[in-house]
Amino acid sequence: MDLLSFARGTGLKVALAVFCLGVVWRILAFALLRIRRDLNEPRASVPRSLAGGVLAIGSRSWPHPEFIGRTGAGEALGYSYHLGLFVVVLLFGPHITFLGSLFGFTWPALPSSVISVISVLTFTLFLAVLFRRVTHPVLRMLSNFDDYFSWFITMLVIVTGLAATAHVGGPYETLLGLHILSFDVLLIWFPFGKLMHAFYIFPSRAINGSLLARKGAVS
């Protein structure tokens, strides 16, 4: 079995199964924990607490005016590369064909040249993100293997994808095999590392917002 056949066959199958196993495991292990009873008298009604949770999703997703000078650049960087990733993953023709074979439906694609430009921009932003992480004293102190490996595996998917599309750096079947294989590794790593924030980020903001609203705080 060659690399490409393994990556798009057995490798992908195992990765999909592990991804689903890990995601369900981690969500249930978190969601089924008992919420500690708050014995304080609520400062807001239940609907207001819930509304506070929804509002927190929005307010925490935008730089706070008071800190925008310090956090704005980092947030802009974060939003930009996330946007780039979404466009490349969801609007590139061969990716749509891949996702279509999994889900049974497809959607229009962007021209490959546009995707190429966005991919290179995303690649550059990814390098900037790493540079910021290793040069920012606080970020560097907070970072561990999880952060660097999550960055590395995502970057590997981007680089191999660019190489495969441009047919640079080796035979197409090897590059495509490496691209899909690195995606398989990303899928396996996803639920067990910080990439899981894709599932946790909004529920955790909503829960925090709701708890704060219950205490009468504006988040």
């Binding site: 060659d2 490409l4 056949s5 798009r8 066959g9 057995t10 992908l12 199958k13 999909l16 199964a17 592990v18 991804f19 689903c20 196993l21 890990g22 995601v23 369900v24 495991w25 981690r26 969500i27 249930l28 292990a29 978190f30 969601a31 089924l32 924990l33 008992r34 500690r36 590139f92 023709g93 061969p94 990716h95 064909t97 891949f98 074979s101 999994l102 889900f103 049974g104 694609a109 962007l110 021209p111 490959s112 040249s113 995707i115 047919h167 035979p171 197409y172 079947e173 495509l176 899909i180």
Partner: protein, 372 residues
């Protein structure tokens, strides 16, 4: 079919047929061009060929469909008659030769004896080893026996077609006859694989011509294929490649994109992973090739092409192999199995977490105020 290969050179044979030196150089230039060799190689090839001894060639057919030989007979440069009458001495081919049965076997034995160590052995078809080789026999002898015997005196072996080169369709899962490529049976001879199902006729004749002209095995890739023909992918040389670069893909075989010549990648074309000369030499004297006729490449010149999933699934899509094509149902099955297992582990983990929460919330005996 003659055995006078010792005495007559290619040049002498051409002179006897009244072919002028000028015509011969033109032929060599055309052949060199077909093989994508530099322009100066034409006269150089002519100079070498004219003095080259016409080599004895023995063509063995095993587990095959005769498509490769059918392809060879449609060669334009050189033509099959030019090849077998002027350039080589085809001493045995049970399909083309007039003799049959014992007479044919005797002709093969004589050619092997007279040209021991010098003849070119062409093998067409895979070699079945199951049932003691009983799935393919000729004259009461198995293909394995015949191949082992014939390979002993061969100067080189040319495996024509994907079956001889890589096992092809007979080797495809479940390989009921335990078929193998020639390389799995013979290990001590120079072997040139000319893969394809069938191979391009000019690739077969060109490879033979190059061997006759130079007397050496050409540069080969990792699958022992001549780099001159198998050095690039079909996708690299495809006239639809600009559409791939522009992201213009046909979505079905009769949509507007297909009619406008857009890339067939999403319809399952295997051109990007297939090394062959279809896009440059083309077929039927350079008339066309499958992609030009509107169908994606099947990847027939690559090892294991029959077992690499559907011909109509894009290379970037999942391929489950024996389990069939990727579909929402198959994905649901895989995801469901993972999710159920994850659910069990998740519930267990949550139970342990709750237990830990409960213990943490219990007032510790050590911390309780001492009464008195």
């Amino acid at each position: 079919m003659s055995h006078d290969t010792e005495e007559i050179s290619v040049g002498e044979m051409l002179r006897r047929h009244g072919i002028s030196r000028r015509s011969f150089i033109k032929f060599c230039t055309a052949a060199a061009s077909a093989m994508a060799l530099p322009p100066l190689m034409g006269p150089a090839m002519a100079a070498q060929l004219v003095n080259a001894r016409r080599p004895s060639v023995i063509y063995l057919s095993f587990q095959e469909c005769t498509g490769c030989l059918e392809s060879l007979t449609r060669s334009f440069a050189p033509t099959i008659e030019n090849l077998i009458f002027n350039i080589i001495s085809l001493d045995y081919d049970d399909t083309l030769m007039a003799a049959a049965g014992g007479a044919a076997d005797a002709a093969r034995a004589k050619a092997m004896q007279e040209n021991f160590g010098k003849y070119v052995l062409i093998v067409d078809g895979s070699v079945p080893t199951g049932a003691d080789g009983g799935y393919c026999t000729a004259g009461g002898r198995s293909a394995v026996d015949i191949l082992r015997e014939a390979s002993k005196g061969a100067a080189a072996i040319v495996c024509v077609g994907t079956c001889a080169a890589f096992g092809g369709i007979p080797l495809a899962d479940p390989n009921p006859t335990q078929a193998w490529p020639v390389t799995a049976i013979v290990g001590d001879k120079p072997i040139i694989n000319v893969s394809g199902c069938p191979p391009i006729p000019e690739v077969i004749t060109g490879t033979l011509l190059q061997f006759v002209a130079t007397g050496t095995v050409p540069d080969l890739d990792e699958h022992r294929r001549p780099k001159v023909f198998f050095g690039n992918t079909i996708h690299d040389r495809c006239y639809r490649r600009p559409f791939y670069d522009q992201g213009k893909f046909a979505k079905s075989f009769d949509d507007e994109g297909a009619r406008n010549g857009w890339c067939l990648y999403e319809l399952g074309c295997k051109g990007p992973t297939t090394y062959n000369a279809c896009a440059t030499l083309k077929w039927n004297g350079g008339t066309s090739f499958p992609i030009e006729s509107g169908h994606g490449c099947l990847g027939c010149s690559e090892p294991g092409f029959w077992d690499k999933g559907s011909f109509y699934s894009a290379l970037s899509t999942p391929a489950w192999g024996k389990a069939g094509e990727a579909s929402p149902a198959s994905v649901l099955k895989i995801a469901g199995a993972g999710a159920v297992a994850g659910g069990v582990i998740g519930v267990a983990a949550a139970g342990l977490g709750r237990l830990r929460q409960h213990r943490q919330e219990q007032p510790s005996v050590d911390n309780e105020p001492k009464g008195g």
